[in-house]
């Protein structure tokens, strides 16, 4: 190193870029909604239609293995729905139960047993084999859940609830038909079928 060369750094100052990147990262992490674990995983069939489901005012009926699970979006709607169901079936839910129900994932138990499920720890709930919501003509709780959720949604959001059916691809048609019939009996003639995304056809 006899000749002194002018030292010029090739690196640029990354501090500002780093700040921006982390700011954005924080934003995206905070806005991302945590995925709610599914009680009953279903394999939805694929389709090329690319309509997204609405974020709110939506009730999802998950159909799989002959069982139906119910889920409705929105804490206030859920609490009101539970109240209405409690009144109808003569089950009282404490405020604690209601709050637990508000943050719970979809469920598939008769309303009489719902209290026991709510008392369980979320970790235990996952292992519980839920029997599905009764939907026979004798004890059609599913229809009541749908009815009350609609009422609750109109009360709190002043909007008609939308319905989506999330069926397992291997599910036989009659059970899907039955769920559609229950919806149609309440004059819900338009609903969504949840599908996976199919890649472009070869």
């Amino acid at each position: 190193m006899a000749i002194k060369m002018k030292k010029k750094s090739t690196s640029t100052d990354m501090t500002a870029m780093c700040d921006v990147a982390f700011l954005l990262l924080t934003f995206f992490i905070l806005t991302a909604t945590a995925k709610v674990p599914e009680v009953m995983p279903v394999d939805t069939p694929a389709s090329t239609v690319q309509t997204k489901l609405p974020e709110k005012d939506l009730a999802t009926l998950t159909v799989g293995h002959g069982k139906v699970f119910f889920d409705v979006k929105g804490k206030d709607v859920r609490i009101r729905t539970l109240e209405l169901m409690g009144q109808k079936y003569g089950v009282t839910f404490s405020e604690d139960d209601q709050n637990k129900f508000a943050i719970m994932e979809s469920f598939g138990v008769p309303v009489q047993n719902l209290k026991q499920v709510l008392d369980m720890k979320p970790a235990d709930r996952k292992n519980l084999q839920q029997p599905g919501i009764p939907k026979d003509s004798l004890d059609n709780q599913l229809a009541d859940w749908i009815q009350n959720a609609r009422l609750a949604n109109i009360e709190s959001h002043d909007k008609e609830l939308e319905f989506a059916i999330k069926g397992d691809a291997k599910e036989e048609y009659p059970i899907i038909r039955k769920v559609m019939d229950i919806l149609q009996n309440q004059k819900i003639n338009s609903f969504s079928l949840v599908t996976g995304l199919r890649g472009k056809e070869k």
Binding site: K7, S9, T10, S11, D13, M14, T15, M17, C18, A21, F22, L24, L25, F28, I29, T31, A32, T33, K35, T44, P45, A46, S47, T48, V49, Q50, T51, K52, L53, V63, A164, K166, G167, D168, A169, K170, E171, E172, Y173, P174, I176, R177, M180, D181, Q184, N185, K187, N189, S190, F191, S192, L193, V194, T195, G196, L197, R198, E201, K202
Partner: protein
């Protein structure tokens, strides 16, 4: 590029004259920025892509007091698709006892090379027959008790791809139709085993 502080940060206070290495207080942030942007990309994509897709389905009003007489349609415009078990699909054009030419009951596969080709050619033929765009093809989908939900979604998807203007899901089966879908399902053709979704 990397300009990490390699020199000893202190301690030898008296050796200032001896040290030729320039102390660099800068830390190279390139890797950190890389990581941050990678994570941003990940979160951006997962938030938008995780929303489930859905398919809208409108069914006709099912009011028992509805006394509207059923609409009669030209049988030359209709195609009936029967969905059976094991991904079996049978279609016929027109009426079952007297189908239009080339429209006798025939097995098809789901997907691009199966029912879609048929639907597209029929759609064109119907347009030629009626002459107006308002009177397009009518597809009657009859899912049998043995068919599964995937079959239903697949066929509804085909309707959306092909652009069938009118289609209906019908549950009533005539004895002949159930024979058609149930009778030949015993002999499993290898073609019927294939599903459309690879």
């Amino acid at each position: 590029m990397a300009e990490l502080n390699t020199g000893d940060g202190g301690g030898k206070k008296g050796s200032k004259k001896v040290r030729s290495k320039k102390q660099n207080s800068k830390v190279d942030l390139t890797a950190m920025v890389d990581l941050a942007f990678l994570l941003i990309t990940f979160f951006m994509l997962t938030t938008t892509l995780s929303k489930p897709q859905s398919m809208n389905l409108g069914l006709p009003d099912k009011d028992p007091e509805d006394k509207t007489p059923p609409v009669k349609v030209d049988e030359n415009r209709t195609m009936t698709i029967l969905l059976g078990d094991n991904n079996k699909l049978v279609r016929f054009v027109g009426l079952l006892d007297k189908p239009v030419s080339g429209g006798a009951p025939k097995d098809f596969e789901y997907g691009k090379d199966g029912i879609r080709k048929e639907l597209l050619s029929r759609k064109a033929a119907v347009l030629q027959y009626t002459g107006t765009k308002e009177k397009g093809m009518i597809v009657i989908i009859k899912p049998s008790k043995k068919s599964n939900y995937r079959n239903l979604v697949d066929i509804l998807d085909e309707m959306a791809i092909v652009g069938v203007p009118t289609y209906a899901i019908v549950n009533e089966f005539t004895p002949e139709e159930s024979k058609l879908i149930g009778g030949s399902s015993i002999e499993k053709t290898p073609a019927a085993e294939k599903t459309s979704n690879p």
